[in-house]
Structure formats: structure tokens, C-alpha cells
Symmetry: C2
Subunit: 190 residues, 2 copies
């Protein structure tokens, strides 16, 4: 998606350790107009006719997933991280390693809201190692629901989380894949 | 807002300790159509003409704040909780007590994205003790920005966080105020 690559090129920053910061429009301050364009692009790329749920993980995926869900006319569910007192009873859960917070976190979705009859589109703003994505796929599998595909706005291709998902035969659509982010700037995958 | 009261009445659950669960449409599975109706109601209730930013706190406020920001044609910022390695440098911060997680958390907003020239509408899905709201107001004050008002979907009136904000002269609009939630069901404030 050229529009997204352009925003990354113009506003993205590269920090030591190949950290890519796109927090001015994607995951701290959110450009809602851009989220709508991304949602429309996902709608073009996936067969969304039967989708019943858009699923993401808290926190930064929620903004994009909300707009996508509204675009498809379905509800959005976000997996919670760790255990809060406000979720009781039956839960789908998956343990993942958060590279951002450098610790294990548990993704949780209430069994009340995800069923075996659901057709799920997973959406996230950003993917690096793909740990959150692996956890979300786990949860869809645990519910016995159908995974239609995975839509990601920005993928750090050089960390290969996305490649592993594609090799597993899942329909992953990343709108901007960064294959290099260092002192020479960004290199995008074609 | 009658539509929202009706949803709380029909789908909300009351757990021991006056805990109100509205996770089927407001803060775990999100009804995006309802979020749009709430956003339109906020637009009617506030003078939003000069608003430049919608501000919320992660995680469950993000869905509603995103739709509100799109409705107003402005970006949305969500305050992060605790410190992640992906936020460096200058931060506005405010310590609050999270009753959900029973511990102190710090709300963080990057100084890059909130300026003294901003006119801010704070939006959240739910308010009980008003701790998150106090933190968000702190951050707006810290930035020297103008607080236009606060829009809340569901307020637990019997915990009085909202009353303290109104007494401070802030324009708080809560679309559904629950004054009682016990074995006799819900009582809403007129």
C-alpha cells in the first residue's frame, strides 16, 4: 500500500537496535483517516463476505481493528493481556512473549464472545516477531472458529514473524513490509 | 442516551460487589455501530468545532475514542500504561490507582504529540472512581492544552468519580449514569 509506505518513509523513525517508531500515526497518536484507508484495503484483499468478528490484541491494535470491524459491519474483540478482575469464568488463553515489555504475557478472550461458528479476521497494527499473532491464532483455534486471514499494517520483515505465518499457509496480508531499517533508512519489500 | 441505557439494561450483568459487566458490547467485544452512535451523541453535546485531539487511556477506551476522533476528523491519542521500551524521551505522565488491577499505574503521553495549542476532548468507555480520568486531565494540564470536555459512555454514578469532576467545573457528559446496580437490577440517573 503506497500511501502507508510513504507515511513510514516520511514520518517513521529508526532507533538503535532496528527499532521502528511509527507512533505519530499508527500506535500512539492515531491517524483515523489513514486507519479507514487501511481498512478499505483489507476489504479489497480478503474475501470478507462471511467474516463475523475482527480480532486483535490490546492495546495498539484496537484502533485499526475497530475501524476495520466497522468497515465490515461486524463486532471487534480485543484479547486482553494478563488477568484482570473483570474477566471471570471461561477464557481462551495463550501465553506469548512480549518483546516490548520483555516478559511473558497471557492473551485472554472470553468464551462468551468467540464461538466455533465464527469466521475471524485478525487485524494488527504492527508485527515483528509475530508472538502476539501466534497467540491470537491459538485463541481462534481454541475456539474452533475459522481463521479467514490476518491483516497487518506494518510488518518488520527482517524479524521473520510474518514469513513463518505465510509458510504455515495462512493468508497474511501486510500492507507495508520493512525488510531493512538502519542508518541507511528504510527498504521495503515489493 | 436511551439506546445505551437499553443495552445496559438488556445485556449488562451485575456481579457481587456492584461490579457492572458490559463486555459484550462496550469493553471486550465492541459493537462498532453503537460506538458510532455514541460518537454522534458526543458531537451533539459538545462544541467540537475547535477540537484538535481526542484523548483516552489504554486499553478499553481506544475503540470508542477512535470512532469519536474519526467522527470529528481529528487524530486520537491514547495514554499508555506503565513504561514500555518503545517510548523514549519526553513524556507527560500521571500516576493513578487502577481499581481493576489493584495497583498503581502510570499514564504516559509523548510530548511529541500533545501541545499547548491543542484543544482536547477526553473520551472513555467507562468511569467508576474516575482515577484514569484524573490522570488524563493531569496530562492535558501538564501539556498546557485546553480541555474542551469529557465524554463518557457509562458512568457508575454511585462511585462518585463523575460528581467530583462536575464539581470541579469540567464539562463532563456521561451518556448513561448508573446510580444503583445490585440484586434489584439497574437504576439510572435521569
Amino acid at each position: 500500500m503506497e500511501l502507508l509506505k510513504q507515511r513510514v518513509r516520511e514520518e517513521g523513525r529508526i532507533l538503535p537496535g532496528n527499532i521502528v517508531k511509527v507512533d505519530g500515526f499508527l500506535n500512539h497518536r492515531i491517524d483515523t483517516k489513514l486507519m479507514r484507508e487501511i481498512a478499505k484495503e483489507f476489504k479489497r484483499r480478503f474475501d470478507t463476505s462471511g467474516v463475523t468478528i475482527v480480532l486483535t490484541a490490546e492495546a495498539s491494535g484496537i484502533a485499526l481493528a475497530t475501524i476495520c470491524a466497522e468497515e465490515l459491519g461486524v463486532p471487534m474483540i480485543f484479547a486482553k493481556k494478563a488477568k484482570s478482575d473483570n474477566i471471570e469464568g471461561g477464557l481462551y488463553q495463550s501465553d506469548i512473549f512480549s518483546y516490548t515489555y520483555k516478559k511473558k504475557v497471557t492473551l485472554l478472550v472470553s468464551k462468551d464472545w468467540l464461538k466455533s461458528t465464527d469466521k475471524v479476521l485478525i487485524v494488527d497494527d504492527f508485527m515483528a516477531n509475530g508472538e502476539a499473532m501466534r497467540g491470537l491464532c491459538d485463541i481462534v483455534r481454541g475456539a474452533g472458529a475459522e481463521l479467514v486471514g490476518i491483516g497487518v499494517a506494518v510488518e518488520k520483515g527482517f524479524q521473520h514473524g510474518g514469513d513463518r505465518i505465510r509458510e504455515a499457509g495462512i493468508n497474511l496480508q501486510s500492507l507495508c513490509i520493512i525488510d531493512q531499517a538502519d542508518e541507511n533508512g528504510f527498504v521495503f519489500r515489493d
